[in-house]
């Protein structure tokens, strides 16, 4: 376990050479990867979301691709299409894979894509395969989709329905850096051209091995019950929450807590893991009612209240 922790610490260190701050974002992205799941990143422009994901892809020797979603993006632009290829006088159809055929796919501003394009992406996320025509293509493992959303500029967007948002394990909030961090960013990027090389920390096989290890991390029965109690409580608060989280959230919370324990170098899940991961797991799975929104409550405030209620 300590060896794994040292590797994760090296990863943070290497990411820190490129991305200043955002340690919790990097940790949550790492947790998503270890859970073999997908994450939704929400933050204002210019907060190093793309940079962090691209850097992590380099550190893990994973093929990275970026999809900039626009309203005119078609599903075939993501999945790929058949093209006519002429070889030695003969013409035949050849499948040209789309950008989704990568290990880490960054889907920028997913809420800008049409629902049809979003569903093509979500099918790949869920099934880890793509169907074009009558042929199905398996995606290379490990496969992760890290989608981003811009909380402002909602005009002309197609917000992800709750049922689709539920398929993302975490909703990661990317916040502004601190004052000192911003000074460091300015020093790093305004005065010198950065092309820092980062060393490889994990390879594909090691990542898949870690994903198996995550599922092996044990959790105490009372903590398991705590997880279910927290998720169930989201369905029992009509004065605060209109729609609560589904059992998928319980599975996700246990898995994410296990991954966090592994990242911290522990071989058991602690209560702190559950309380910390409850926020990114639940914030996109609950809908506040009008009364809560009128009071100016956020989903994080509601989650905090629920956690404090559950013993």
């Amino acid at each position: 376990m300590m060896k794994n922790k040292e590797m994760f610490d090296s990863l943070y260190k290497e990411v820190g050479k490129i991305v200043v701050g955002q340690k919790s974002v990097v940790e949550q992205i790492l947790i998503t990867i270890l859970c073999d799941a997908n994450a939704l990143l929400e933050g204002y422009p210019g907060l190093a979301k793309t940079l962090a994901i691209r850097t992590m892809a380099k550190l893990m020797d994973l093929k990275f691709s970026r999809i900039q979603n626009t309203p005119d993006l078609m599903p075939s632009d993501i999945t790929g299409t058949y093209i006519i290829e002429e070889t030695s006088g003969k013409r035949n159809f050849k499948f040209q894979p789309g950008p989704i055929f990568a290990n880490i796919v960054l889907a920028d501003e997913i809420n800008r894509a049409t629902p049809k394009t979003q569903s093509a992406m979500l099918e790949a996320m869920q099934e880890k395969q793509v169907t074009v025509g009558n042929k199905t293509f398996q995606l290379d493992r490990p496969f992760f989709v890290l989608a981003t959303q811009n909380p402002i500029e909602q005009e002309g967007t197609y917000p992800l329905p709750e049922a689709q948002a539920d398929r993302f394990l975490l909703k990661i909030r990317v916040g502004y850096p601190t004052y000192d961090e911003e000074v460091e960013i300015v020093d790093k990027y305004a005065f010198q051209s950065i092309e820092k090389k980062v060393k490889l920390i994990f390879n594909k096989n090691e990542i898949m091995h870690m994903q198996d290890l995550v599922r092996q991390v044990p959790i105490a029965n009372d903590l398991k019950k705590r997880v279910v109690s927290i998720v169930a409580e989201t369905r029992k608060n009509p004065n605060l929450i209109e729609y609560g989280a589904s059992p998928r959230a319980s599975i996700g919370l246990v898995l994410a807590s296990k991954a966090r324990a592994l990242v911290k170098g522990r071989n058991y899940v602690s209560k702190d893991d559950i309380d910390t991961m409850a926020y990114p797991i639940l914030r996109h799975r609950i809908i506040l009612n009008f009364e809560a929104e009128r009071k100016g409550m956020s989903t994080d405030d509601a989650i905090k209240e629920i956690i404090s209620k559950v013993r």
Binding site: M1, L213, Q216, V217, A220, N267, Y268, V269
Partner: protein, 264 residues
């Protein structure tokens, strides 16, 4: 193998805690027994009844102690084991590298756990000392009949109170009896004159208390002469069977026979 070793660790924890609980329960029950015994003996009730609350306390306390979650007690005492013990116990049947490493960590950390840290030695010392003092108090109260003295003190107090109230005090009636009322005495013990021996009626009054011998009142008997004590009605007389009429010639013959025997 690791699972067996770890199960052994868990069994040892439970066994140790159960022993501690058993000892503490016994000590507390013994103290309760002694306290109630003293109280009962001061008021001259059946002291054996002290076994009942002591026994009940022992059983209930033991049951509650055994049902306690011992692993949480260990985790609270030793923060480096926090959440680890429970997790390993709940996943005892799982065998994978992560769980195995957790069990190994626990077995290594358990070497730092001291049984004495769960025993409140000061508490036990005080309880033991108290039980010794109580035992001595019981012996002393039996030796000096403190219950009787308390009863006398209570009687005197009540006499005083009755005197103040202007009530008539009957001789031979204790304050407690007066409080109970003579009617109550008769109704409980029946009429005062109940014994009939021969043609005489013997007056008997049963006192509801003070039936025990007070050793202080027992004195050496008075030395008296036998002739003073011997009743006049008793005398010696020969039996009639020995007073038969024998002729004088025959009496002389018998007398001569024995004289000759004596000479020879």
């Amino acid at each position: 193998m690791k699972m067996k070793k770890f199960k052994k660790v868990l069994k040892e924890i439970n066994f140790t805690f159960n022993n501690i609980i058993l000892f503490n329960s016994f000590l507390n029950a013994f103290l309760i027994f002694l306290i109630i015994y003293i109280i009962l003996s001061l008021f001259n009730f059946y002291q054996r009844y002290a076994l009942v609350p002591a026994g009940l306390y022992f059983v209930i306390n033991l049951y509650r102690g055994i049902r306690e979650k011992h692993l949480i007690t260990v985790e609270k005492k030793y923060p480096f084991l926090n959440e680890k013990l429970r997790t390993a116990r709940d996943n005892i049947r799982m065998e994978n590298p992560v769980v195995d490493s957790l069990k190994l960590d626990i077995m290594r950390d358990m070497k730092r756990v001291e049984v004495s840290s769960f025993i409140n030695q000061k508490n036990i010392s005080y309880k033991t000392l108290l039980s010794i003092i109580l035992c001595f108090l019981i012996i002393f109260s039996a030796q000096f009949d403190i219950s009787h003295n308390i009863k006398n003190a209570a009687d005197n107090t009540l006499d005083f109170i009755y005197g103040l109230a202007g009530n008539n005090t009957n001789e031979g009636e204790s304050g407690l009896e007066r409080m109970a009322g003579s009617g109550a005495t008769e109704s409980i013990f029946g009429n005062a004159q109940i014994a009939q021996m021969g043609d005489e009626n013997i007056d008997m009054v049963i006192k509801q208390s003070g039936y025990e011998i007070n050793l202080d009142e027992v004195k050496e008997p008075e030395r008296r002469e036998f002739e003073e004590l011997f009743p006049d009605e008793v005398f010696v007389a020969t039996a009639d069977v020995y007073e038969e009429e024998i002729k004088e010639e025959q009496q002389e013959l018998v007398k001569a026979y024995f004289l000759k025997l004596a000479e020879s």
